[in-house]
Amino acid sequence: MPDRERELERELRELGALISYPPTPDAARAARNLLDEEEDERPRRFSLSFPTLRWAAVAAAFVLVVAVPALSPTLRATVSDWFVAGDTQMAGGPAVDAGSPERESEANVPASGASKSSEAVTTPALTPQFSGERITLQEAQARMGGALLLPRTPKLGKPDEIYTSPKDGVVLVYGAGLPPLGDTGISLVLTEVPGDVEPAYLAGKIAVGSKLDSVMVDGHPGYWSLAERPPSQMDRHLLGNVLLWEQRGVALRLEANLPKEQAVRIAESVR
């Protein structure tokens, strides 16, 4: 190798040695933590395949047996959690802790016999309560694997608050822009839950609230549940009308004080 080339190589090596790199982060540890978190989540996801039947308050107020063959397995599974299960969220939802005896009893009560749990919820305040942990938009994105869905309607900006949902999902809360849900100061609640749950456990029928109609949301089958009565302190769970649908492998639940057509329009803006 000619001397000139060696000299050039030496200079390049020296130049490289002069580069002061930023301190090396402990990426191995960060990666390990990430992998550990994923490991921890696996059993939880599996357990979702077997519903812990909740949302007894809705079932308590109105009991109706509805066949759900039109829904995809994914949405069916999640729908059953939402209608029969109830700890996803509701504006002004039950003021009981996840581990309280009341909640435990709700969890074990079949939907058709859930009126007792409705009576058990007597806390009068309509203050919105969400059982999940408050998180940022970025954290919500990460929780949904980068596929967080948002309504793209000018009436709603970014969500005012975001919470985790107990079912590996997120709850987006909007304060203004639409008619309020009772006196909660909330106008719309959008819940998103990843849909990889066991398809078969519904056995074709679930007990849900009355006025449950089939709807189509941008070609996706869904359900519309109308709140029959104005919000009252005794009916804190059913503040708004509820639209359920599935989109891109995510089961969505939109609750708002809106007529069906308007709710569907907002749902169709979600992407």
Binding site: E9, E11, L15, S20, A27, L34
Partner: protein, 162 residues
């Protein structure tokens, strides 16, 4: 993995030109390496395999950030500016020469720049350089030889212009 994280991070840093993007790329690469460990050929050297994953992730990060290619030059310039020889005269000469070299490298084709960065800035072996560049070892040799020839030509061009 800890034993590899410095070279992995530095590789990612030169590719992305950004500390947090390099950190993300390194972490993601480690996660991917762990998940795809089953595909790693037993008996093959681990470091080139890992660095290839790191380089891919770093390129993805760079694409996401819409950063232009060759950011390692900026990183190198920023990194070397604080490391000056003790005497003022030597410092001026060294700084001028560094500038000259970096400018000349900047005038090379991207594949030539990368060959130089891997071999001389990161001190990687031919095999590791080949893994990062996605080519055969023999290609690294010829690419590097051409890169040095082009570099000398660039320096000469700058000298003539100056």
């Amino acid at each position: 993995m800890r034993g590899y994280q410095e070279v992995a991070f530095r590789t990612a840093y030169l590719i992305t030109g950004d500390v947090s993007a390099a950190e993300d790329a390194t972490q993601e690469a480690f996660v991917k390496a762990y998940r795809t460990l089953g595909r790693f050929r037993s008996g093959a050297p681990f470091r080139p395999w890992l660095l290839a994953i790191v380089a891919n992730e770093a390129r993805n990060q760079r694409r996401v950030a819409a950063r232009r290619a060759g950011l390692f030059l900026r990183a190198a310039q920023e990194g070397t500016s604080e490391n000056s020889p003790s005497s003022p005269e030597a410092a001026v000469l060294a700084a001028e020469r560094r500038e000259e070299l970096l400018e000349a490298i900047g005038g090379l084709r991207e594949e030539a720049r990368w060959a130089i960065a891997c071999r001389y800035f990161l001190g990687l072996s031919e095999e590791e350089t080949a893994a990062i560049l996605g080519c055969a070892r023999g290609t690294v040799k010829s690419r590097l030889s051409r890169a040095l020839t082009s570099l000398r030509a660039e320096i000469a061009k700058e000298g003539d212009a100056g």
